[in-house]
């Protein structure tokens, strides 16, 4: 049974369709990214899953429980961080934890201790949250989201406003949770490089529609690699290669040319160029990033 099933999730406000029949499935231990430009419906989708925004249509099933029928039971399995971790600033970190522990069954004082040390807030837990840095608030937010041992963690733009160290820390936490504790994580972001480092799969949203779910390994590692040769006479080199490997798409630039080919053919091609009297100064493989692929999927519309 999938951890999260979303069926035909739709949100219509007035004449605008913010989310349009989105269907998704997620497994335990998986990190899924929700990608898309601003206004694509990422936040609305996540808020519909957790009931902050009502569904115009569709169904959300978490660990086999329909959220429309048994909201409390379903929410007991979910941890949420929506944008900034908004906590009660006038209360201490510990009071915040106590407060939310009373709203989720089965969280003991021992569990609170455990979660405090997990997020590394032992030193400052009795200080008021108003004195915390954003990174510390993010950690406290994570403690609130994880104290009841949810099997699904939902994060909406969690890295907004975090410094690089904070982002790195959060990423390590999330990877640990998914791969060691088997928590499923759905994370929305418009930061491509972030998603690339974290996610197992990405779902791409555009104008409220789901336009594809891709395994990241498929996206960025393909059989053919784009190879760039640095040469002294690119025009001649193009002619040589065209004769040698007919049909290949070759692009030439200033003192360089690019061709897509399997990695194991690089030595052979280099030899051919050298044999034709062309000087080769460098050979690079150009890695396709998630961003390239994303732009390709969404038809080049910026984010």
């Amino acid at each position: 049974m999938p951890l999260l099933q979303i069926r035909d999730l739709t949100k219509i406000i007035g004449r605008k369709t913010l989310v349009d029949h989105v269907s998704l499935e997620m497994e335990k231990g998986e990190i899924m990214g929700l990608l898309g430009p601003n206004g694509a419906g990422k936040t609305t989708t996540i808020r519909m899953i957790v009931g902050l925004v009502s569904k115009s249509e569709g169904q959300v099933i978490i660990d086999g429980i329909d959220t429309s029928q048994q909201f409390s039971a379903a929410m007991g399995k979910v941890g949420v961080i929506v944008e900034q971790p908004d906590l009660y600033k006038y209360l201490s970190g510990y009071d915040n934890l106590v407060l939310f522990s009373r709203m989720s069954p089965g969280v003991t004082a021992d569990r609170l201790k455990e979660i405090i040390s997990l997020v590394g807030l032992e030193q400052s837990i009795s200080a008021k949250v108003s004195t915390y840095s954003l990174g510390m608030r993010q950690r406290l937010g994570l403690a609130v989201a994880l104290m009841h041992k949810p099997s699904l963690l939902l994060l909406d733009e969690p890295t907004n406003g975090l410094d690089p160290a904070g982002i790195h820390e959060l990423r390590e936490h999330l990877k640990n949770l998914a791969h060691k504790e088997n928590v499923g994580i759905l994370i929305s972001s418009h930061l491509m490089s972030e998603m690339e480092m974290m996610c197992d799969r990405v779902a791409v949203l555009q104008q409220g529609k789901l336009i594809g779910v891709h395994r990241l390994s498929e996206l960025v590692q393909e059989d053919d690699t784009l190879v760039q040769f640095e040469v002294d006479r690119p025009e001649l080199a193009v002619q040589v290669l065209q004769a040698f490997m007919s049909g290949a798409e070759i692009t030439a630039g200033h003192n360089q040319l690019r061709v897509r080919l399997p990695k194991n053919r690089i030595p052979e091609i280099s030899q051919k160029l050298l044999d034709s009297g062309i000087s080769v100064y460098g050979v690079n493989t150009v890695k396709r990033t998630l961003e390239d692929k994303y732009l390709e999927i969404t038809g080049g519309q910026g984010h």
Partner: protein, 313 residues
């Protein structure tokens, strides 16, 4: 059980803020101001010439009640005071203020002040969470929106009731320090059907607080309604403050006019029923209670629906 935990959470959010304690301290200031007021008047103890003072006061009251622009409530109040003064003169009982009579006489004022302070708490209790963003965490735990709504309302009402008790205890404490704690065994004198009646002091204190509670209930519920339904703490404090003060004033100024039976603030003080003069002649306690209940129900119907149905974005 779950709901009790949610109410504890709301209480924690109320009482762990310094601002709340400033508001509570305001009640102490209010009681002290009332004591100064009594002191500045007759000093709280009977003077040697109390008989002539009472007689003078009766002349003044009679003259005031006879003025053409006197309000109905003023005329009735004057008549009652004259009767009470005459009773004191006949039975040779010098008028004295003690902790008990002070606390009883202050009940209406205390509940008025407590209500205005409670409006601030009730106006913020839901709306402030939308402003700070904490509502998102609150509504994505295992509590339903109705449970969160109910816990917040109960916490707001408990704050008002607690503050009323603080006001009563402080007026007994400060009143005792200033006027002494004697006189608990005395009877409380009041006028009903043009004759003077007596009732045990403690019962009269308890009753007068109880009869004024609808005002607290109405104003706190109004503030809570705007808070939970419309999510703006500023509106949820300013509008109920204005409506409550205006309602209080109008209910006194228009006392006795037939249309006021359909004016909610005319039902905010039920003591009239026990003193034999309801706000409108012929109106019954049952009607008042039903009318109050109807208003509370309509307010909750509106704000609960908005709180539960509206998206959080």
């Amino acid at each position: 059980m779950k709901l009790i935990n949610y109410i504890r959470n709301e209480n924690m959010k109320i009482y762990k803020r310094k601002r709340t304690w400033v508001l509570i301290a305001l009640v102490a200031v209010f009681v002290i101001l009332q004591i100064i007021n009594v002191r500045a008047g007759d000093g709280g103890t009977a003077a040697a010439d109390w008989r002539s003072q009472l007689e003078q006061e009766n002349h003044r009251l009679a003259a005031e009640a006879a003025e053409p622009d006197a309000l109905q409530i003023e005329i009735r109040q004057a008549e009652k005071n004259i009767l009470l003064n005459e009773y004191s003169l006949q039975h040779n009982m010098p008028p004295e203020t003690n902790a008990w009579s002070f606390a009883g006489d202050l009940s209406g004022n205390i509940i008025f002040a407590v209500s205005l302070i409670s409006i601030i708490i009730a106006g913020e209790i839901a709306a402030a969470e939308f402003v700070s963003g904490t509502i998102k965490l609150l509504l994505t735990r295992s509590a339903s929106r109705t449970e969160v709504y109910t816990a917040k309302y109960i916490a707001a009402i408990l704050f008002g009731l607690g503050l009323t008790l603080v006001g009563l205890l402080l007026s007994l404490l400060f009143g005792g320090i200033m006027f002494g704690w004697g006189g608990l065994g005395d009877s409380y004198m009041y006028v009903k059907d043009h004759t003077v009646h007596q009732t045990p002091m403690l019962l009269s204190i308890l009753g007068s607080y109880l009869f004024h509670l609808p005002f607290l209930l109405i104003s706190v519920t109004l503030a809570f309604m705007v808070s939970a339904g419309f999510r703006s703490p500023i509106f949820a404090i300013v509008i109920p403050l204005f409506v409550s003060v205006a309602g209080f004033v109008i209910a006194i100024a228009m006392n006795g006019w037939p249309w006021t039976r359909f004016f909610i603030f005319s039902h905010a003080d039920l003591s009239g029923y026990f003193l034999g003069d309801p706000a409108v002649k012929g109106m019954t306690l049952g009607f008042s209670l039903a009318f109050i209940g109807l208003h509370l129900a309509v307010m909750h119907l509106l704000s609960h629906t908005l709180f539960v149905k509206r998206d959080v974005s």
